[in-house]
Structures are given as structure tokens and as C-alpha cells.
């Protein structure tokens, strides 16, 4: 049987790299429902998971897949699912449950063009705002956006680590283009991979409060079967997990859930600055479009345009301080993404009028070419 960490050099798709990243992170439960272009993640997990002592199950729909993932995590097991637009819509209900029950889990969305069934086999980045606000109510979410199979491997490990550390669902917002592209992936030795586990309760079990926050705002989590008689509910609840139907409790719980992410944002953020030191124009991008943007920056530099790039590994929470800092010293922002303006609007908001913001995007189904980005850079 193959080990969980397949140390070595491989040629694999982004989807497969997500599956391998999950296994390397210690994922032991995968709740699946097939959907193009994410199916290969489920297929790989169905082949690999039992061999490392885990469980794979294909559920009856994405609602059930997500519910099973949350249930498995409550039993103390690192768990995940993977989907694309239509399935992502169905998962929103229990994603909200995971947020309120503070249940660590990972959801990969290999984005395809929507709305509705859209272009099932063609990529897009148009679920970024659904990732942010797709479930009802006010909450904060963590979303990562890898640009290559190699990054997909590492970002999946990071997704599990953040999910465990902050007791929250984490989204991997990749796209069909990364998901279906085969490239070189180097998997390190197991000993070189750092893993996080959810904070665990200490002390007397009868005094344990499942929603009493620790110093970083995150409560320790007891699994079912541990003898703590935990109660969890999707209703607004107190530190015991008991429902409390008051405005005060709602304020306290929701504020803490939001601040748990926002107060720890500098630990959650990851972004890469590329040729930004002397840049006049900052290109902002993530996922597959970051590769387009990087090529455009290099080519524009050859033309004498001082372009640089801010590549977002973490898209949510949004690094608004970084954008505002750049806004003081660049002439303009160009956001490159396969949609008609989602993160672009966040860049505008964060720039607070200090620099004009331009979008290079389209409605989905194909890559953006570096030429389109260069045209925008030339016009500034």
C-alpha cells in the first residue's frame, strides 16, 4: 500500500495534487459527489484513502457530502470534499453549519463557468464572491487560490492546517484550468511537512465548554466519543453550546466568529510580491490568472512599463491593508480574474480612491491572454 505522503517527483493534475495534499495533511474522510471538473479529486481519494486507514464515501448529493464531512469532523477526523459551481451552491447550507459549529473541514471548488450549469468543462473564477458570502448570515471565511498543481498540493496542506488551527471551514478556490493541467509536482518527505491539529480540551471533562474561546479566540474541540457529552447546534448558542435566543448572545457569538478570523488575519494571509518594488502599476491576481498576469508583467517590463504583481494565495480574508499600502505608491491597479469583476471590486474598495482600478476579465470558459493584460497596462 502506498503511504499517505508520496515523497518524490510526479507528473500529475491539479486535481490529483489536491488529493495528494489532503492525504499528506492527514485527511481521513472524504465525502464525495461527482461533478466536472472536480471529479478526479474524488476518484483519487477513492483509490488512496482506504489504503491509509481513511474512509471514502460517495453520497447521494452535495448537500449530503458536506453534511457527512461536518459529521466526520465532529468525530475528530480531518475531512474534506471537492466540487464545482452547482455542487458548491448545494454545500452552502452545511458550510454555514460548519462555521457556526466551528468544525474544521476543507472544501475544494474547482471552478467552472456559471451561472447554473454553465460551461461544465471550462474554467472560470466567478465563484469568488459566493465563496465569501454564499451561506446566509454574516461570517468570515478563509479561501485559498492555488495557481499550479504544485501550489495546489501545498495550499491543500495549508488549508487543513488553517481549518484545524481556527476550527473553521477553509475553501480551496481553484479552477478547471489548474485542476485539469498536468505538471511537475514535488512532494517532500513526510518529516518536512508541518501539520496542525485542532486545539484539544484540557482538564475536567464535566467542566469542558465546547465554545469557550482560547487565547486566540478559538475554543478547544472535543470529539464525539471522548466522554465530554458535547452539544452542538446550528442555533445561536452560548459557551456550553446551548441555544440562547437573545440579541446579546447573537452579538457575542457572531462577533467572536468574525473576529476569530479577522484578528488572526496576518497568520492566515499569504501573498507574493513580484517585481513590485519600483512598480508604477500593480497587477492583482490569483489562481490560474496569476500565471497570465506574471507573463504580462515580464513582457510589459521589456516594453519599459514598470509593472509588478501582487499574487494572492489567500483571497479571503482580503488583504485590504496591503492594497491600501500599495495604493499610496502605484499609479493604478489592474486586477486579472476570469469573471466580470469580483476581486476587482475588493481592490477598488481597499484602494479607497488613492489609485484607479482596472479589470481585465471575461465571463469565463477560457484563460485570459497576457496580451489582454498588456493592453490594459499600456493604456495606463
Amino acid at each position: 500500500m502506498k503511504p499517505a505522503v508520496l515523497t518524490g517527483e510526479h507528473y500529475m493534475t491539479g486535481d490529483e495534487a489536491i488529493a495528494e495534499g489532503a492525504l499528506a495533511a492527514g485527511c481521513l474522510f472524504f465525502g464525495a459527489y461527482p461533478i466536472t471538473p472536480a471529479t478526479e479529486i474524488a476518484e483519487r481519494m477513492s483509490q488512496r484513502l482506504f489504503g491509509v486507514g481513511g474512509t471514502f464515501i460517495q453520497m447521494e448529493d452535495e448537500i449530503a457530502a458536506m453534511a457527512a464531512v461536518v459529521g466526520a469532523s465532529c468525530a475528530g477526523v480531518k475531512s474534506m470534499t471537492a466540487t464545482s459551481g452547482p455542487g458548491f451552491s448545494l454545500m452552502m447550507e452545511n458550510l454555514g453549519l460548519a462555521i457556526v459549529m466551528e468544525t474544521p473541514c476543507v472544501v475544494a471548488n474547482v471552478q467552472r463557468a456559471g451561472p447554473s450549469t454553465g460551461l461544465p468543462t471550462q474554467g472560470a473564477q466567478a465563484d469568488m464572491m459566493q465563496a465569501r458570502w454564499g451561506s446566509h448570515g454574516h461570517y468570515e471565511i478563509i479561501a485559498l487560490a492555488p495557481e499550479s498543481a504544485q501550489e495546489a498540493f501545498y495550499e491543500t496542506i495549508r488549508a487543513f492546517n488553517l481549518a484545524e488551527k481556527y476550527r473553521t471551514p477553509v475553501l480551496i478556490m481553484t479552477d478547471e484550468l489548474v485542476g485539469h493541467m498536468s505538471e511537475r509536482v514535488v512532494i517532500p518527505k513526510k518529516s518536512a511537512i508541518t501539520l496542525e491539529d485542532r486545539p484539544r480540551p484540557k482538564g475536567r471533562k464535566d467542566r469542558y465548554l465546547p465554545f469557550e474561546p482560547g487565547p486566540n479566540g478559538v475554543p478547544p474541540m472535543a470529539a464525539a466519543g471522548e466522554g465530554c457529552a458535547v452539544h452542538m447546534t446550528g442555533l445561536t448558542h452560548d459557551a456550553k453550546g446551548y441555544p440562547v435566543m437573545t440579541v446579546e448572545c447573537q452579538e457575542q457569538m457572531v462577533t467572536r466568529l468574525v473576529n476569530k478570523i479577522l484578528d488572526n488575519r496576518h497568520d492566515i494571509f499569504s501573498f507574493k510580491e513580484y517585481r513590485l518594488e519600483d512598480a508604477d502599476v500593480a497587477v492583482v491576481s490569483y489562481g490560474i490568472s496569476a500565471r497570465t498576469a506574471r507573463a504580462a508583467v515580464d513582457e510589459a517590463r521589456q516594453e519599459g512599463i514598470k509593472a509588478g504583481m501582487l499574487k494572492l494565495d489567500t483571497v479571503w480574508p482580503f488583504c485590504e491593508e496591503k492594497i491600501f499600502e500599495l495604493a499610496q505608491r502605484v499609479k493604478a491597479f489592474v486586477t486579472v480574474e476570469i469573471n466580470l469583476g469580483q476581486i476587482h471590486l475588493e481592490v477598488m474598495r481597499a484602494a479607497r480612491g488613492k489609485a484607479p482600478c482596472v479589470l481585465v476579465g471575461h465571463a469565463g470558459g477560457a484563460l485570459i491572454s497576457p496580451e489582454q493584460v498588456k493592453a490594459a497596462l499600456r493604456s495606463i
Binding site: 474512509t55 453534511a67 468525530a75 447550507e93 452545511n94 458535547v230
Partner: protein, 288 residues
């Protein structure tokens, strides 16, 4: 003075309730209405959990949304009050991730058979290692008495003001057709039978299903000219106990009779046993 001592007496009496160790007594009083049968079904469930001898530290209760869905909130077990209709898939994940857990789903007919109907039939098909207890009160009580997938034809509810134009599911028949391997139906009037049946369901390996008929005088009875005691009389007078009955003959009808009993029991590999035998490498190695 007398009042105080009475209160003390009541307090002491409550402290001696045989189910106290399984109840979150700090959450009592519960939300259930006077005349509602959910409390009886819930007490029977907790009694059965005790009688079955299951390790309480490894027993979890999962509920969905609705009146019966509040059950998990009162059980002093690892207990999860999940989303509407999703108790079964949540419980499936919980059980698969830790097969040592005994997982009990306690919820209502609207939750399990309308919004959650798809999950029910698939869990039954898989013979998933769960005990599903459905309190059937023939309507959506929590939201004020709307038509459900179990409401009798022509019955009045707030969303069928002139009578239900549709026909209900027969839950045990649906469970049978879907592949459940333990199937029973009782009413809250059949206390001992109900507890014995629930105990058997809890100890059954695979997917066990018990339907418990329960009155909802506030929302259903009131609109259908059925006074609280009349529903119970109906359960008493119209019920026909028929263990091992043909699933096609288990009517739930005021005219034809309310057929109750432990209808079906089958021994076949549970979902977890099937996964172990089919997918786990150590099992595959042993068999090769």
C-alpha cells in the same frame, strides 16, 4: 411554607427521575406543547438507550430541525442539532469517521421524509449503521402546522385550508422498499412495546428504523376536530398489532386500522461491514 416544601418535594422527585443521568436537566423545561407526544417518544428512546446497555460515552444523538429535532438538545450524550433534513448524512459522517460510536438519529417526519427524504432512502439502501427514530405527528409542528409528506389525504393544515389534495408516504413501507433491515411502527400509547422495539433497533446491526406516531393537538388535532384525548383513543382503538406483517398491509388509516409492530428484521452486512470487506486493504489481503 407549604408551597416551598411542595417545591422541594417536587425538586427531590425530579432529581430521582430514572432518566436524569441521560438528560441535560439544565435545559428543562423543554419546548414541547401540552398534549404533545414527543416527550413520551423521547423518554422511550432514552429508556431504550439505557436498557440496551450501550456504552453511553460512545453513543451520539443527531437531530435535524423541528419539534422532534430538539431531541438532541436534551440528551446528555454527544449530541448534534444539525440542519433541516440533514441529520442522516451528518450522522453517516460521524459513524463512518468513528465506527465505535453508536449513532441515533431522533427527528420528525417533515425533517426526515420531506426535505431529508433522499438521505433517508440512501442511508437505508446502504444499510448504514444508524438507528433512525421518526416521531410522526402528521404535520410541521414547529412552524405552526403545515402540510407534510405524512399528512393524510383531505386533512386540514394551515397550507391545506380546504383539505390535503395529496397522499402521504407510508414510512415503514418506504423504509422496506429502500433496504432498511429493521423496521417497526408504534404509537406513544404503546409504551412497553415501543421501548422494547427501540431497544432492539438500537442493538440491530445496520439501518434500523422506528416510526412513532405522536399527537400534535395544538397544530394538527385542533384543525382536524381531534381533541387531545381522541387521538390517543384512536391509537388505542384502531391499532392492530401485527408483528412481521406484510409491508404492503401496514395501513395507517382511521378506517382500515393503524397497523403496528416490529414488521421486518433482516441480517445482512451493514454499510461499515461491507466497506471493510470490500475496500479495506487488510481485509482484501486476508481474503486473497
Amino acid at each position: 411554607m407549604t408551597t416551598k416544601s411542595n417545591a422541594q418535594a417536587i425538586g427531590e422527585k425530579q432529581a430521582q427521575h430514572p432518566l436524569d443521568d441521560l438528560l441535560r436537566t439544565d435545559r428543562i423545561p423543554h419546548i414541547w406543547c401540552p398534549g404533545c407526544g414527543i416527550g413520551t417518544a423521547f423518554a422511550a428512546t432514552l429508556t431504550a438507550i439505557k436498557d440496551s446497555g450501550l456504552d453511553l460515552g460512545h453513543t451520539a444523538m443527531v437531530s435535524g430541525i423541528g419539534c422532534s429535532g430538539r431531541g438532541a438538545g436534551y440528551a446528555k450524550l454527544d449530541s448534534y442539532h444539525t440542519t433541516h433534513g440533514r441529520a442522516i448524512p451528518f450522522a453517516t459522517g460521524l459513524k463512518l469517521a468513528n465506527p465505535k460510536l453508536n449513532v441515533v438519529v431522533f427527528s420528525g417526519d417533515g425533517d426526515l421524509f420531506a426535505i431529508g427524504g433522499n438521505h433517508f432512502i440512501h442511508a437505508a439502501r446502504r444499510n448504514m449503521d444508524l438507528t433512525v427514530i421518526c416521531v410522526n405527528n402528521l404535520n410541521y409542528g414547529m412552524t405552526g402546522g403545515q402540510v407534510a409528506a405524512t399528512t393524510p389525504h383531505l386533512a386540514k393544515t394551515t397550507t391545506t385550508p380546504v383539505g390535503n389534495p395529496e397522499s402521504p408516504f407510508n414510512l415503514p413501507l418506504l423504509a422496506y422498499a429502500s433496504g432498511a433491515t429493521f423496521i417497526a411502527r408504534w404509537t406513544i400509547m404503546h409504551g412497553r412495546d415501543m421501548v422494547e422495539s427501540l431497544t432492539e433497533a438500537l442493538l440491530h446491526r445496520g439501518f434500523s428504523f422506528v416510526e412513532i406516531l405522536s399527537p400534535c393537538p395544538i397544530n394538527y388535532g385542533r384543525r382536524n376536530k381531534e381533541k387531545p384525548l381522541e387521538t390517543l383513543k384512536l391509537y388505542e382503538e384502531k391499532s392492530i398489532i401485527k408483528n412481521n406483517a406484510n409491508p404492503l398491509e401496514i395501513t395507517l388509516d382511521a378506517e382500515k386500522g393503524i397497523v403496528l409492530g416490529n414488521f421486518y428484521k433482516e441480517s445482512r452486512p451493514s454499510c461499515i461491514e461491507s466497506y471493510d470487506r470490500t475496500c479495506r486493504p487488510d481485509f482484501l489481503e486476508q481474503s486473497s
